[in-house]
């Protein structure tokens, strides 16, 4: 069976008709979170579900529903064209009507199939689907999420059903029933004959008692073994459950730690990106960036003022010094005026001098000194000298007094204040501080821009982590955040109980072997009894034959099951190697459990169990088993069947994802995978296709996306579009 195309109409976010053609190999449906991948998968699930009523109001496109006026109607449908012994088509649909009160009624549900041969023949859809894609095969073809890939964990009877469906074991059923009946009846006949025979009656009776006793023992042991096996299975279930939760819990804790770390970074980058450039102008003095020349201007002005002030001060000092020097010269002249040793200037005094001049007599020597005589002139000169001296003394005195009170030329010192500021603010340190503002500003701007970029990235990473956290809860039905947060203390108790049960089981199995050996011995003795009756001997021989046939049938059946499991295991390991090329992958071991279920284990080549393979290895391990099942299905049915996955690779890293798709691309099998892989973050929450990686693949690729402009609170604004990329 090859799915050629599907058409999804008015199914939830798929508004109107949405058509996808599939290739025979891999088709990728790529979309981000919330873009409609799971809805796409569920539309196929809905189409292929033959067990429930498909008329479901929740499947109607809200957008289309909201557009309808009362009285109007439209259709929700999913149809699939496929090839299986000729072209066929399946259509599931119903109509929805908008009532006058705004409610919606559903009607006209049908699930039909069409055989598109020369004549288009209508059939019952469910029958056609079950004929072409039987439910036993479908169960191994469609997988939602990464956690559902382990088919044996999902369904306990999976291996049994697989064996029954795809091995030749059923052919043994009639033969086995017949062999058991023959052996049992012949045994009864022999027992009866032996007890009736006189020669063997006592021994037969004793052996019968012994056999009955050993049977009781064996039955009791088997019963105990079954109980133990049941307990072990229960412990295993609980342990597995806890381990599943533990794994989810570990993932949960990892995501929580990541979110906390991202929140911390967000706060840090927010703080860094929150710098207010306006206030930085003042707080960090950025406003002084162009101030350099004003500082120079100030410095030059103050220098000139200081220089001028000093010049004027020097000039004034000089003037005053000259004045002082002049007085000293006058004094000097006066000292030299009388030549020889003169009389003191005050002898004779002014009144005596005036008397002598008036009397024209020198009263010092007693000689006359008439007017005009040399002595008379000398007396006049002496008087003038006296007066001048007094005057000079007065002048000197006045000057001295004046000189003490004269204000300084500069009584204020504002220029010194300015100069002080110049020294303080215009030195080289201050200049380089201002010069450094420019690189500081640009460095800060650069830093802020980088912080903003980092912040954007962190916000996107945070959004992704939160989506991952939400998805983890969605993919873990029944688990709550609280349950994931709490510790799983009963793990150890269950583990120890299982270990102890296994020890007891081994003991019981050993006992069983002993008792079975005893029974074999009794039966052998029984078979070797030699009755006297020839009929008894004949019955004995016939029973031996039936017994041998029964053993052979049981062994053959067991061998058949083993070889089916080996075939499945070998094929799974081939795929595992391909999916993990150049990487460690171990060996898949399918282990049958006493209750008939199976477990997928991973072993190292030295036989040791790999108890906790990483997420990607685990996923490829389960997928390998699925591919192997699918391959065997193809071999047994002589037809291929598609494998359809919704987001199977959540735990893959980029590199793994690339290898994975390259391998799947080359597996000759129809595979439809809805995934959010192969997208790259473009910032602001926008994701784009990684065209380089996609171009390396030969498969068909579709991009599904929510149409922009939706209202985040209004479902009727959500619409998914499908675009063919290649």
């Amino acid at each position: 069976m090859i799915i050629k195309s599907i058409n999804i109409k008015n199914f939830r976010s798929y508004y109107g008709n949405n058509h996808v053609d599939f290739s025979d190999g891999l088709t990728l449906i790529i979309g981000g979170n919330g873009d409609g991948k799971t809805t796409f998968f569920e539309s196929l699930e809905w189409l292929m579900n033959t067990t429930v009523d498909g008329k479901r109001a929740e499947n109607i496109s809200e957008k289309r529903k909201s557009e309808l006026l009362p009285g109007e109607s439209d259709e929700t449908s999913v149809s699939m064209v496929f090839e299986h012994d000729g072209d066929k088509e399946l259509v599931k649909r119903f109509r929805f009507y908008k009532n006058q009160d705004g409610s919606v009624s559903l009607n006209d549900y049908e699930f039909v199939g069409y055989n598109n041969g020369a004549e288009r023949i209508r059939q019952n859809g469910a029958s056609m689907l079950d004929n072409c894609f039987e439910s036993e095969i479908r169960r191994y073809c469609m997988f939602k999420g990464e956690s559902n890939l382990n088919i044996f964990a999902r369904e306990e009877t999976a291996i049994k059903k697989l064996v029954e469906t795809f091995s030749d074991i059923k052919q043994f059923d009639d033969l086995e029933t017949l062999s058991i009946t023959c052996e049992s009846k012949s045994q009864s006949v022999v027992a009866r004959e032996m007890q009736n025979d006189k020669k063997t009656a006592d021994k037969a009776k004793e052996l019968n008692n012994n056999i009955r006793y050993t049977d009781d023992k064996i039955n009791k042991i088997i019963e105990d073994i079954h109980t133990l096996e049941h307990n072990i299975h229960t412990y295993t279930d609980i342990i597995n459950q806890i381990e599943t939760i533990q794994e989810t819990s570990e993932k949960w804790q990892d995501i929580k730690k990541r979110i906390a770390s991202l929140e911390e970074k967000k706060t840090k980058y927010s703080t860094g990106a929150k710098i207010d450039y306006n206030t930085m102008l003042l707080d960090e003095y950025w406003i002084l960036k162009p101030f350099g020349n004003i500082l120079n201007e100030y410095s030059n002005k103050v220098t000139k003022l200081s220089t001028e002030k000093r010049r004027q001060e020097r000039e004034e000092d000089r003037r005053r010094a000259e004045e002082k020097a002049k007085h000293e010269i006058i004094e000097g002249i006066q000292q030299l005026a009388n030549g020889a040793e003169p009389l003191p200037w005050n002898l004779p005094d002014r009144e005596t001098m005036l008397d002598m001049i008036n009397d024209e007599v020198c009263k010092v020597c007693g000689r006359p000194a008439p007017k005009g005589s040399e002595a008379y002139n000398f007396m006049l000169q002496k008087l003038e000298g006296y007066v001048n001296h007094i005057k000079q003394q007065q002048i000197i005195k006045t000057e001295k007094e004046n000189s003490d009170e004269e204000p300084p030329l500069f009584s204020k010192s504002y220029i010194e204040e300015l100069n002080y500021r110049k020294i303080r603010f215009c030195d080289s340190e201050a200049e380089s501080w201002i010069a450094k503002l420019t690189p500081d500003i640009y460095e800060t701007i650069d830093f802020v821009n980088k912080q903003k970029e980092r912040l954007e990235q962190v916000k996107m990473d945070l959004q992704d982590a939160m989506t991952e956290r939400d998805n983890l809860l969605i993919q873990s039905p029944g688990l709550t955040a609280e349950a994931l947060d709490k510790s799983f203390s009963d793990y150890r108790g269950n583990y120890e109980a299982k270990e102890s049960a296994n020890v007891r089981l081994a003991e019981l199995n050993a006992d069983l072997k002993v008792w079975k050996g005893k029974k074999e011995g009794y039966l052998s003795e029984y078979n070797h009894l030699e009755p006297t009756s020839s009929m008894s001997k004949l019955y004995q021989k016939i029973h031996n034959v039936f017994n041998t046939i029964l053993s052979a049938v049981e062994k053959a059946k067991e061998n058949n099951i083993e070889s089916f499991i080996t075939l499945l295991q070998d094929n799974a390991n081939e795929y595992l190697q391909k999916l993990n090329i150049n990487d460690f992958h171990g060996i898949i071991k399918l282990q049958r459990q006493p209750n008939g279920s199976a477990e997928i284990l991973l072993e190292s080549s030295n036989g040791s169990l790999i108890t906790n393979p990483n997420g990607a290895l685990k996923t490829t391990m389960y997928m390998s088993v699925l591919f192997a099942v699918s391959k065997i299905t193809t071999l047994k049915r002589d037809k291929g069947y598609p494998l359809i996955f919704d987001a199977p690779t959540s735990s893959f890293e980029d590199v793994k994802e690339e290898v994975f798709y390259n391998v799947i691309d080359k597996i000759e099998k129809q595979c439809i995978i809805a995934t959010k892989d192969l997208l790259v973050n473009k910032g602001n929450g926008i994701k784009e296709l990684n065209i380089d990686k996609i171009n390396q693949l030969s498969c068909s690729v579709y991009r599904i996306q929510k149409v922009d402009g939706f209202n985040e609170h209004d479902l009727s604004t959500i619409q998914t579009t499908i675009t063919k990329i290649k």
Partner: protein, 190 residues
């Protein structure tokens, strides 16, 4: 008593600005008129105290080397509550720092740009008040031009200064030589 310093006398003053900028610029960008308590809460304005936009306006006028005389009618003028000596003294709210040195640089600029005969001032031929008046005139004229510049931008685009780097860009547009490009660096003759 020691003689008053020119700086101190200047810092006691409070520049006048034209009332017409009160709504269009000062209240638009600062918490002017909101009172201390609400000021501290942070009101989402670009700046805190009213004087901050006055400082911004002053430096815009200074770096553009443009002055504008204030309107003659003194009833149409107004001054801030805080004299210059308090400008930049306190953290004006969350994530802010004090920037008291801004006053020193404003004073330096005013001395550099004002036509005061300091020789005469030191000779006591003109008094201190007169010198401080000249400094204040220069300051007010720069502020007046700067306020006019800001108002003009706001009128042409009311959200102009709400771009995160709008005010910064104004100052990044100047380089250190721009404001005085016509001035000689040699000391001039007095």
């Amino acid at each position: 008593m020691a003689a008053a310093l020119l700086y101190e006398e200047w810092a006691k003053r409070n520049p006048y600005w034209e009332k017409r900028y009160e709504e269009s610029v000062i209240k638009k960008f600062t918490d002017y008129g909101k009172g201390e308590s609400s000021f501290k809460e942070g009101r989402g304005k670009l700046f805190g105290a009213g004087y901050e936009i006055i400082i911004i306006a002053f430096f815009i006028g200074l770096y553009y080397n443009q002055r504008k005389k204030l309107i003659a009618d003194s009833t149409k003028r107004k001054s801030l509550g805080q004299p210059i000596q308090y400008w930049g003294n306190h953290d004006s709210g969350k994530d802010r720092k004090a920037y008291p040195k801004i006053r020193d640089y404003m004073f330096i600029a005013l001395v550099a740009k004002s036509d005061i005969d300091f020789i005469a001032l030191d000779k006591d031929e003109i008094n201190l008040r007169k010198a401080v008046d000249i400094l204040m005139d220069t300051m007010e004229e720069y502020i007046n031009w700067g306020l006019d510049f800001i108002e003009d931008k706001v009128l042409s685009d009311s959200s102009y200064f709400y771009a995160p780097t709008a005010f910064l860009d104004v100052f990044l547009g100047f380089d250190a030589n721009m404001a005085d490009e016509d001035e000689t660096t040699e000391p001039e003759e007095l």
